[in-house]
Homo-oligomer: 180 residues x 2
């Protein structure tokens, strides 16, 4: 192995004192605990319209998504949602409330999505976006959405109408984000 | 290094194509991406009373907590909350709705807490609990709670009264779960 491999040399076994198989490096003994990761993002509303970003990167390049991404150490989920809006859409947002928590077991993600609004009018594509735009909920490009959870969020948002007090959303019944 | 070391030999540097310092194993080149982890748990209600578990393990052995723990790969957050209630209190629970999402940046946790109820009457201490018991919200052992977020959840639950439709809770203003 050389550092260029960037992979380690992991084998699966149950470490002493544990009950689950973990990835253990056969060379250095490091235990790679793998747990789901948190994606934090936002539904940024401007009146009746919502901010979407057309992805400039894989996966799903060219498709529309909500500003969202992996939470980093030292952040709160709200911090991460604000940072992602800034990075992907140059948007300076204020978070209003939690909208939904989704789980996608297939890719080991928990997605924490907030309702938010712009603090200043400026938006522009960040380096990970080809284009950013506001869409009315009747004009969403449904066939060009990047991920199932983007569709869930926009569908659930449509059900709200003018309601401001609502229980947060979760995965739609029976849906686990599998891509068919 | 031998496997018994269980640690790898990590140095901090910015990998090619990244913008943040990461832990990189100087021997095998493995990049240890570190992101916050998800703790999933539940507020299990039986009428006006709530289930608490007295911890049999560190940290905070002997103090009272809500059934909760680290989410594993392949689970939804709801799956993890149900498993933890089973492991810590032998409780078979049904989840009613999301209660709160807390962030504790100091320990890189996102805590996803659900309202739930028992499907069967049985509860008993699991291996990580010394004792499990239901408490009325006026009888909570406030000075013997294990973690700040347990206090947040119980305090926020008290504010609800009979309300069933409410926006989910987050960290109380200004609180980040630091222990003073």
């Amino acid at each position: 192995m050389t550092p260029a491999d960037n992979k380690g040399n992991f084998v699966r076994r149950v470490p002493a004192g544990d009950t689950r198989e973990r990835e253990v490096c056969a060379e250095c003994g490091f235990i790679r605990y793998e747990n789901p990761k948190v994606v934090a993002g936002s539904l940024v509303l401007e009146g009746p319209r919502i901010l979407l970003c057309r992805r400039a990167i894989e996966p799903r390049i060219g498709f529309w998504t909500l500003p969202a991404g992996y939470m980093e150490l030292g952040e709160t989920a709200e911090d991460a949602a604000r940072r992602e809006a800034r990075e992907e859409a140059e948007a300076d947002i204020a978070i209003d409330r939690l909208f939904a928590v989704y789980s996608i077991p297939r890719i080991a993600q928990v997605q924490v999505m907030y309702l938010a609004h712009l603090k200043t009018a400026h938006v522009a594509p960040g380096i990970e976006s080809q284009e950013v735009s506001f869409f009315g909920l009747d004009d969403v490009p449904w066939s060009e959405l990047a991920f199932p959870s983007v569709r869930w969020a926009l569908t659930q948002l449509k059900t709200l109408g003018d309601t401001t007090t609502f229980a947060p959303f979760a995965n739609p019944p029976g849906e686990r984000g599998d891509v068919v």
